[in-house]
Symmetry: C2
Subunit: 229 residues, 2 copies
DNA sequence: GTTCTTGTATTTGGATGCATTTGTACTCGC
DNA sequence: GCGAGTACAAATGCATCCAAATACAAGAAC
């Protein structure tokens, strides 16, 4: 019997460590695990029905990704980010993402552009629902990463993904506090249009401004919120 | 008995995981562990007289740092970097490092500048010795990180450190293959002089060119070596 | 001789249990 | 009532043992 089949039919087995890391990453990004929360190895192990070993390894990985902070002998916490932290993260994005977009645009297919457009339409419909803030983050990342996907720059992508993950909680906050949803959506459409016209300079410049503006308005919103406390 | 002493005499206790990670990172950067080598958990555990648990956690961390690649159920290897990988790493550096230098220069003290000069002088003397290629890497990073130290941009620094670590083996290769030592040294002195004069634009521009040139010449050297194989 | 199969050895992945460290509340002394 | 010391509780760190997966090699079928 010949069992050789298409790769996509393979059962996607992953280690428990990876699975736990994915779950925790998701929960931290979504805010299910709030900022400042302590990540107890025992509690996580019990919750996911695994031993503490894969949990510990997952925590090490998330620490290296910048998503959590491990204090020796005292466990891991989800750090609260200061306005200057936010500024850093968005500055890094503003520097790296236009560069990768530059390399991706010439290789983007019509299909890629259509997929990106679909994501934007889904984004607009999701905004009608109650839990739009949660799904927004994933759709936003889907849109951005789709645009970068053809660059084939794995090191860029890893860093960009980690930085986006670290800041995504706050990106949602920015949209909520500053009512920046409409503007972000508008800019997304314009960026996509530049890509469709293969206008590399235009797309990259607008993308940089898009990120810089989001970072700046978020930083100001955070400072105001902090001042009012 | 009063054991309270000055802080610097405190026994620097760190977890075995961190210690193993530091050791492995050092060995990979120095090339003691060559590229393509498999990192056997058992062998490392025996070598350092620890169990495999801290070794596994250290490997996870190094994987997240981008220094090694873990294949599920098949262990970890030190990846060989292609010319395009090298181009990526140096492009990332060329984008991030001038930005952090910009924020650091205004806060650099005279003492900082003197320390950097000391590093450059040590660099020149080390070049006389046989094992100069090894010590060069550390001194190069010391110089660069000293210049960035006052920026207080931890996210930038983490990424920059990881990217430098990933490419350091090859940076040594570039100096060796292309005889770029003299030029690099010359550029270091010029960058330091710009910093001393608080010429932010000049320093950042030269730093960017310094990194870009090193990346470009290394990429070409690698392509030639690959073509001759 | 080549290829496929099967068994074994090696290696990684995970669970349990113990030691060490840290946090906390209670008590003792003043 | 207040502070210091101490005992207890809880969490992390690490080692040992076991299970699962992979790599390798020897042998059988063609």
């Amino acid at each position: 019997m010949n069992l050789s089949t298409a790769p996509e039919s393979a059962i996607p087995r992953q280690s428990l460590t990876s699975a736990v890391a994915d779950k925790l990453r998701e929960e931290i990004i979504r805010g299910t695990i709030p900022e400042g929360a302590q990540l107890r190895q025992d509690a996580i192990a019990i919750q996911y029905q695994v031993s503490r070993i894969p949990v510990r390894e997952a925590l090490r990985q998330l620490d290296a990704e910048g998503l959590i902070t491990i204090v020796p002998n005292r466990g891991a916490i989800v750090p609260a980010l200061s306005p200057t932290d936010i500024e850093e993260l968005f500055t890094i994005r503003a520097l790296l993402e236009p560069e990768i977009l530059k390399h991706s645009i010439p290789r983007l297919t019509e299909n890629d552009l259509e997929e990106a457009a679909v994501v934007l339409r889904r984004y607009e419909t999701e905004l009608q629902h109650e839990d739009h803030l949660f799904s927004w983050g994933r759709l936003n990342w889907q849109f951005h990463s789709l645009l970068y996907s053809r660059a084939e720059r794995p090191h860029f992508m890893n860093i960009i993904r980690n930085v986006n993950n670290s800041g995504e909680r706050y990106t949602r906050l920015q949209l909520y506090l500053t009512h920046g949803i409409a503007r972000a959506n508008q800019e997304h459409h314009e960026i996509l249009e530049f890509c469709r016209q293969r206008d590399i300079a235009g797309a990259c410049k607008l993308l940089r401004q898009h990120i810089q503006h989001a970072g700046q308005s978020l930083k100001e919103a955070l400072q105001q919120r902090r001042a009012s406390d």
